[in-house]
Symmetry: C2
């Protein structure tokens, strides 16, 4: 019976749902990929993770390893490949696991999903998950990798100072004002007059109230 790390397939699926919001095929395939990579790491290796896509696979890594985005042990390089690597945190050598297209031939539903060969509404979700369960590791390829030295050390944020524009703490090395005030913010509008008002009084009640 298919197992993913210390979980049965069903246990893993039950773990995925509340975290990821749905039993997405990518997190299920990702589970097998993480499991395969972990099984090839020498026992006791303290490893970090790289994920080569933002889609689904990061959540499989976060659910099955101690590597998360917030602790910095998982890094996402969005290369668009459905692949991940686990590597020795200090030395940088590791295992990369990827989807190997020729190995998808016996699994037409997985192939159709990964290559987007049919529109989502034509996808047979139940058949897809069942093929993923049966295929397990067999659709994966592996290769040894070595991580570039620049990614091995956590970059220190250096000293923290207060931005003279937004008055918030930021890493001094970013410049005389913070990156957001340098124009790198994802927001369209700032409402400086609203800033710092009493949290107890502040509430968005309708869309109109914040436009």
């Amino acid at each position: 019976m298919a197992r993913i790390s210390t979980y049965s397939f069903e246990e893993y699926v039950r773990l995925v749902e509340p975290f990821h919001g749905a039993v997405a095929p990518g997190v299920v395939v990702g589970g097998f990929m993480v499991d395969l990579a972990m099984s090839r790491m020498p026992e006791g290796t303290v490893f970090d993770a790289i994920c080569e896509t933002t889609a689904c696979v990061p959540d499989a890594i976060q659910l099955l390893t101690r590597c998360t985005i917030g602790n910095g042990w998982l890094r996402v390089f969005n290369l668009g490949r459905f692949a991940l690597s686990l590597y020795d945190k200090y030395e940088g050598q590791g295992i990369r696991v990827f989807i190997d297209p020729p190995k998808l031939e016996p699994w037409p539903e997985i192939k159709a999903w990964l290559f987007k060969l049919k529109p989502k509404f034509e996808q047979d979700e139940e058949l897809l998950i069942s093929q993923i369960e049966r295929a397990g590791h067999s659709i994966c390829g592996m290769q040894p990798v070595r991580i570039q030295a620049q990614y091995l050390k956590k970059k220190s944020r250096g000293s923290i100072t207060t931005c003279p524009l937004c008055h918030e703490p930021y890493p001094a090395k970013d410049g005389v004002i913070c990156l957001a005030c340098q124009g790198k913010s994802p927001y369209t509008d700032f409402f400086p007059s609203h800033k710092n008002q009493d949290a107890q009084l502040f509430q968005i009640t309708t869309a109109a109230s914040v436009v």
Copy 2:
């Protein structure tokens, strides 16, 4: 008694540890920040999240909301500010919560930690966590924000094809070869001769075996 979302402070701390690997002060502060932002979202709003730092806060968001890196509902813009936003997924208006430095004055241990005023080994971890618990939301500021339209829609990866160099699936829009083969990979070495070898036979046993 301090509560973080539906959890007591102690329950939240117990949730953090296995996921993040430690009860890091940043995830605990982040918990209060997420809680504050959620409490200001109109009931029933389907929201996405933006985190302005890679440090710790993304894990608070992933633990307390349905937004994760792998489902794409959490995006990290590394602006170096200890701040996050929750916003209406479709309309883009939302609440930004940040640490407001003047409000740290009654909490010297939190201020020393956030501004790195003393080396980590001099930090009194127990006092720090206790100050964070007692301070709760009081160290936060809030402001309404609107997310740039470009970030409101999930960008489709478009059609998927096979890279002629690495033979892996990748989004065709990335170019005639995939981004990794264009030189954007974080690895130093590729071992093409090792690629696709039988997974059952493949194992890193010593560092030397992969160098």
